[in-house]
Amino acid sequence: MSTGFESLAIIIVLATALSFVARKTKQPTVIAYIAAGLILGPVGLSLIGQTELTQLFSELGLVFLLFFIGLEINISEIQEVLKPTAIIGIFQMALTALLGFATGTILGFTTVESFFIGAATMFSSTALVVKLLTDMDEASTLPGRLDVGVLLVQDIVVVLLLALLTANFSDPATAVIRFLEIMAMIALIGGISIASSNYLLPRLFKRISQKPSIFFIYGLAWAFILISGADYLGLSLEIGAFFGGLSLAQLPYSSELQERVRPLTDLFMAVFFINFALQILPGQLSAYFFEALIASVVLIAGKFGIFFGLIDRMKFTPETSFKASLNMTQISEFSIILGALAVREGIIGDQMLGFISLVAITTMGVSSYLLNFNHAIYSRFDHLVNRFDAEEKEDVDVEQLEGHALIIGYNMVTERVLDLLEQQYEDVVVVDRNSENAEKLSRSPYEYIYGDFKHGEIRNASGIKNAAFILSIVRDMKVNHHILRDRERETPVFLEAGSFEQAAELYDRGAEYVMMENIVTADKVADYLELYVEDPEVFREEIQDDLETIHWGGRSG
């Protein structure tokens, strides 16, 4: 392990330093990871090779990524985009494969090689797109969901392709049988995951969703069960992880789990990209350097066009089509995996792998940049894009909340205040992460969001920028900071603090009112003390109301 840690240290320190640089230059961290690998590997200083640890982490990276993706897919949420994404996904792959094939032939590659190029380049990078979207908190926007949906369809095809490549080609009959077997296995594991999602998991998880770390282990255990299951059935581990996440995604607590899985996924994926770059040999890159650059440009433009055309045909607004397409212009890391497999099977040569790797790096780099700036780029071109607009085009989108009262955390205090809030503000949104309140709140007339307010997605969904009043009984200072940062200045904010120092800090940051149990208690006692000592009769009268509340509140509560 001793050499392991030293190389790991160098890799991570360099990756970190480059990530900081990337951030300053507005690049996504993925580029930094790839750069780190390139610098340290054979292409650059040749300091470090792949180690067992980096290999393991790297493979875990894809597994966790698919698990993470599965967790994102709340079926009810994507139902509205399910049909269009399936259609877009399939047609896009066909068209891009054609484009790849054509490009390959024009650039002078053999038919087999061009065919391979077509197959390898028709996918977009799940790792990159999902990571960047979640970083920007845009995974649940409409373009985001379209992209994730298409990526999923692609991932299924990738799995099939992977299986096909390892199948026995000599006998077409066996190949077909094997293919059907795989489909059956996928159906089986899919079935298990959906079934357990409806019956087994809710019961299992309800009790322990209170303790985050235990909940996390449960999620991992379930994921690994399905991963092993997939392995046993001869499918790829990633498919198992995906279905594991998918079955958990239907539970309301999945966003919590996602947040717990995310750092782990980030870590493994970072090593994945670094590892990927570490294994690239300089010869591979230089062999078809110019061809690769040309192919990259063609693919980026071509993919954008294909996506835009298809999404536009599905009657989404031009803005959605533009952004969703802009995000998908790269080719996937799977192209490299497919390439490696193809080399092993003797279908293509080493230098082809280098070609594909270079195209991957280039398109990933450029597209990350495009993705990061998708809003700005859109504004630049919106007059052009809007030429595509038409009457019947509309986005299926979530209701936008405005002028509502936003409550964070549900307890006795907020419960008692809800009535008055509804009177004053009409719409009330309650964000709460305690699973015990889930049933009650879903049946209430208020808009209910299950989740932790610390998470960007939840904050976006709560419409905090458009709220007219915010009340939070969550004492977590991080949550309070988020609230004070995200809200509009005119919106009054009532918070709760656990100590006087915290309360003072919150006031300094602009809170209008901070509740503190101890202040409230002491003040009340001080109030009644004088009365009690000087005029006991009046004291008894005064407290009648409070005693009534206790009596009746105790009965009904």
Binding site: F5, I12, V13, R260, D266, V413, V533
Partner: protein, 550 residues
């Protein structure tokens, strides 16, 4: 890859199953993992897990270093320092004696002693987290005792890293470790703010920073031949700059959970069926840890002037074996310096004592009553209860606790010129009261002895703002006509108190709700209500803060 996946599946599924049980019975998680490991030991390959387990150690100690607050050291009471030293010396000598008696060599005896002497902050602090939050004395005491012990544990790990125990070697190692920690403190003080600014709040960058320091410091410690524990600890300290440490804690926390689970399960896996030798050692460890150690602690705390109940409650969170012992054990095992029976004994004893300690915590009040009944715990040379009350006091108001709420109420009492006395069991607050010349009783509220001094039968009113049902119950059971104002956290509790004779019960959540409603209406009806509200409330908080300092 496939084999690791199978191992991981087994690890997590077994852990999930065991956690189901442990959660059901409110047990800590660590024994569950250890047991899970025992269950799957036949099915997994140990060697491939060791690497991942080491990573688990790294993250565990890293998070420990991250949570570590150097300022807490300076705030440590001299009492806890004294108690700790005494206990370590006594328990240490006893365990080392026992070890030698059963035939262990000095180095093995040292390992045995370490296991018996140090308590687990991982489990222990979790047991008392609520008490610490509520600022109870025994919570704070236990916390500071854990802190000192953990620091010592790290120092001992450094000591044990030495290949040979020559003075030179050990001194060099300690020197290197010390310089690593000093540089970590330096980074924490001067560099972290700058780095966090550069990160612009990106959790990913902060996580990477944490990881860089972690792997970096570990690499450095490995280069010098020190254990990874030192590097991890130093790394944790380096990045623990508030408030950024919270972000890092969030992200690295999940990663730690993942690897720590693997670590503890691996320990269980390494356990095989214990030999007779191992069983003897296990028994010895358990006895010393669950009986002798807490007993000695209670005695020394009483010596220091704390009342028996507080002393006992402190001890019940310290009666288990530390995870540092486990870390030291596994590193020794990998290096081949610990005997196998002893290694197994430590793991087994840790599993048992971590479980039993949560039971002693759960039933601590009942246990104390039982011990008290049979006069096993003697008050001996205690300082309490003590009092300083005006002669012939009557028709007075009895106030429980001189905390911030207490101070506010005292202000009011002074204003209306009432006679009052305060019951308090924190020595610091008592010395404040003494200086201010107030009437007080120094004792534990739950003890009847204390009440004898307070003369409730002559009192006019008893006020308690403490959110503890035990306190309210004690007050309600007093033989007195005095009025009673209590506090409850739940409505049904409040109603129960009123039925049993309380005149008024404060339920803070209801009060808060009423206030909010008032302010809500104000927001609607008046212009600039927000600014007024903010100004007023801020002033009030500042006043409270000043009264606390003054």
């Amino acid at each position: 890859m496939a084999e690791i996946i199978t191992s991981m599946t087994l690890i997590f599924v077994a852990s999930a199953l065991m956690l189901l049980i442990s959660n059901r019975f409110d047990q800590p998680a660590v024994p569950a993992y250890l047991t899970a490991g025992i269950l799957i030991s036949l099915f997994v390959n140990q060697s491939e897990l060791l690497g991942l387990a080491q990573i688990g150690i790294a993250f565990l100690v890293f998070i420990f270093g991250l949570k570590f607050d150097p300022e807490k050291i300076t705030a440590v009471k001299t009492e806890s320092l004294a108690v700790n030293s005494l206990q370590i010396v006594l328990v240490g000598t006893l365990s080392f004696g026992f070890a030698t008696l059963i035939g262990l060599e000095p180095l093995q005896g040292l390992y045995f002693t370490l296991a018996a002497t140090f308590s687990s902050s991982l489990v222990g602090l979790e047991l008392i987290s609520e008490e610490v939050d509520k600022n109870l004395i025994h919570g704070r005491l236990a916390e500071s005792i854990h802190l000192i012990q953990d620091l010592l544990a790290v120092a001992i790990v450094v000591f044990l890293s030495s290949q040979t125990f020559t003075f030179n070697h050990v001194a060099t190692n300690l020197g290197i470790a010390a310089s690593m920690i000093v540089s970590a403190l330096f980074i924490r003080k001067y560099l972290m703010d700058w780095i966090s600014e550069l990160a612009e709040g990106s959790t990913e960058l902060l996580m990477l920073t944490g990881l860089s320091f972690l792997t970096g410091f570990i690499a450095i410690s490995q280069y010098f031949g020190l254990s990874i524990v030192v590097g991890s600890f130093a790394a944790g300290i380096a990045v623990a700059r508030f408030p950024h440490n919270l972000d890092i804690l969030d992200t690295m926390g999940s990663i730690k959970d993942f690897f720590a689970a693997i670590f503890f399960v691996t320990l269980g896996v390494l356990l095989s069926f214990p030999s007779t030798e191992a069983m003897i050692m296990t028994a010895g460890l358990i006895l010393i840890t669950s009986l002798v150690k807490p007993a000695l602690m209670v005695v020394s705390l009483i010596q220091q002037g704390y009342d028996p109940r507080t002393s006992f409650l402190t001890a019940t969170s310290l009666d288990q074996i530390s995870e540092f012992a486990l870390i030291i054990a596994i590193q020794a095992w990998i290096a081949g310096t610990i005997s196998e029976p002893l290694f197994h004994a430590i793991i087994l004893a840790a599993t048992v004592t971590m479980t039993t300690s949560s039971y002693t915590k759960l039933y601590e009040h009942q246990l104390y009553e039982a011990l008290n009944k049979y006069n096993i715990i003697r008050s001996g040379n205690q300082v309490m209860p003590d009092s300083n009350i005006q002669n012939g006091i009557k028709n007075h108001i009895i106030l429980i606790g001189f905390d911030i709420q207490g101070k506010r109420i005292v202000e009011q009492l002074d204003e209306i010129g009432a006679e009052f006395l305060i019951i308090e069991n924190d020595p610091e607050k008592i010395s404040d009261l003494r200086k201010q010349g107030e009437n007080y009783v120094y004792g534990n509220i739950l003890n009847s002895e204390t009440w004898k001094h307070a003369k409730p039968e002559k009192a006019n009113l008893i006020i308690s703002t403490a959110p503890f049902p035990e306190v309210s119950n004690t007050i309600l059971n007093l033989d007195t006509d005095a009025g009673k104002i209590l506090r409850a956290e739940e409505l049904w509790e409040a109603e129960n108190f009123i039925e049993r004779g309380a005149d008024y019960v404060i339920v803070p959540e209801i009060l808060s709700a009423e206030l909010i409603k008032e302010h809500l209406l104000g927001l609607r009806s008046e212009e600039n209500y927000e600014e007024e509200l903010r100004r007023r409330s801020l002033l009030e908080v500042r006043r409270y803060l000043e009264s606390e300092e003054g």
